[in-house]
């Protein structure tokens, strides 16, 4: 049985295009590894107050999340319908996070 099969013939599956994608995936992997090291190093080496440590950790996590979503999940070049689904999800997610934050702000105001 041959294991090599023609899968598609469009430009998206052109071997050169795929090889370029693979190189990008490896760069993203390197960036994620460095950012993970930076997250741990920042917490142990920088003696930041907790609120600054939280902000920094979340910024690094957001950068890592953007790399995973953008390149590994191909969200940099996805269809409009997927963006629409995710936009709706972001709205509801933001509401979920806003709820406890609103409660904190309420308590601080009293």
């Amino acid at each position: 049985m041959t294991e090599h099969v023609e899968v598609h013939h469009d430009s998206h599956n052109d071997p050169e295009h795929i090889k370029r994608e693979v190189r990008i995936y490896l760069y993203v992997f390197g960036s994620l590894a460095v950012l993970t090291g930076a997250t741990v190093a920042a917490r142990y080496l920088l003696d930041l107050p907790m609120h600054y440590a939280i902000i920094l950790a979340l910024i690094i996590a957001a950068a890592k999340g953007t790399l995973v979503a953008g390149f590994f999940m191909h969200l940099l070049s996805e269809k409009k319908l997927i963006y629409a689904i995710l936009a709706l999800t972001v709205v509801f997610f933001a509401f979920l996070i806003w709820l406890p934050l609103h409660d904190i702000a309420d308590k601080m105001g009293k």
Binding site: H8, A33, G65, K79, I85, I97
Partner: protein, 215 residues
């Protein structure tokens, strides 16, 4: 032609049995622009965002409402969790490499990378078991306090997601790969779809790791 009509039209007779061929498994559906499984997995992931979002919301509420909240890096085991972060990142790369090789028509390399991904999942679970064991040996249980309750809930739920992904990868590595002989493009799409799920599991861990273990 709408999707229903297309489905009926695509039916074939096999020995007197009418076999219905499900459309848009490979080619994008004209009205959505994506094949059906891809749309399905994104809708599923949207619901998963809400599931984990509710738990992150609970974590914020518990943490800000507590008079004293333990600092993760002084309470939990950071080294195994850091190793697990690297393992999950590596597994995310191996999934996309599996998908890339399948698109190149190379099943052998595709299966090797699926196998490495499965192995990464297994290593993650073993390290997680070791980490839980360390917590239990220090008398830290979900009932200990709210910190450990939310820690075990979130990491436990995440671990179940890793386990779910491993089961799917094990299937595609064994019985599921038979599809390659008859429908290689559809099999390739299946790996893309499970890959999207796996990246989401990685994404959740990217936020769980600092919020629970470091802060």
């Amino acid at each position: 032609m709408d999707a229903h009509a297309h489905a009926i039209d695509a039916g074939h007779d096999h020995g007197g049995h009418h076999e219905l061929e499900i459309p848009f498994n490979v080619a994008p559906r004209p009205d959505t622009g994506v094949y059906n499984a891809k749309l399905g997995v994104w809708l599923f992931l949207a619901s998963e965002v809400m599931l984990f979002g509710a738990l992150f919301s609970s974590l914020i509420l518990l943490r800000t409402g507590a008079a004293h909240w333990p600092v993760g890096k002084d309470t939990l085991h950071v080294l195994p969790a850091t190793i697990n972060t690297f393992v999950l990142i590596l597994s995310s790369v191996t999934v996309v490499l599996a998908w890339a090789n399948l698109r190149l028509g190379d099943l052998k390399m595709g299966r090797i990378f699926i196998g490495v991904t499965l192995l990464c999942g297994l290593i993650f679970m073993l390290i997680k078991a070791y980490e839980y064991n360390l917590s239990f040996s220090h008398e830290h249980f979900p009932k200990t306090n709210n910190f450990f309750a939310i820690y075990f809930t979130m990491t436990g739920l995440h671990g179940l997601h890793v386990l779910g992904g491993m089961i799917v990868f094990a299937y595609f590595l064994t019985f599921g790969s038979k599809m390659w002989k008859t429908e290689p493009a559809r099999f390739t799409n299946r790996i893309e779809v499970v890959g999207l799920y796996w990246h989401f599991v990685d994404l959740v861990w990217i936020f769980l790791f600092p919020t629970l273990y470091l802060l």
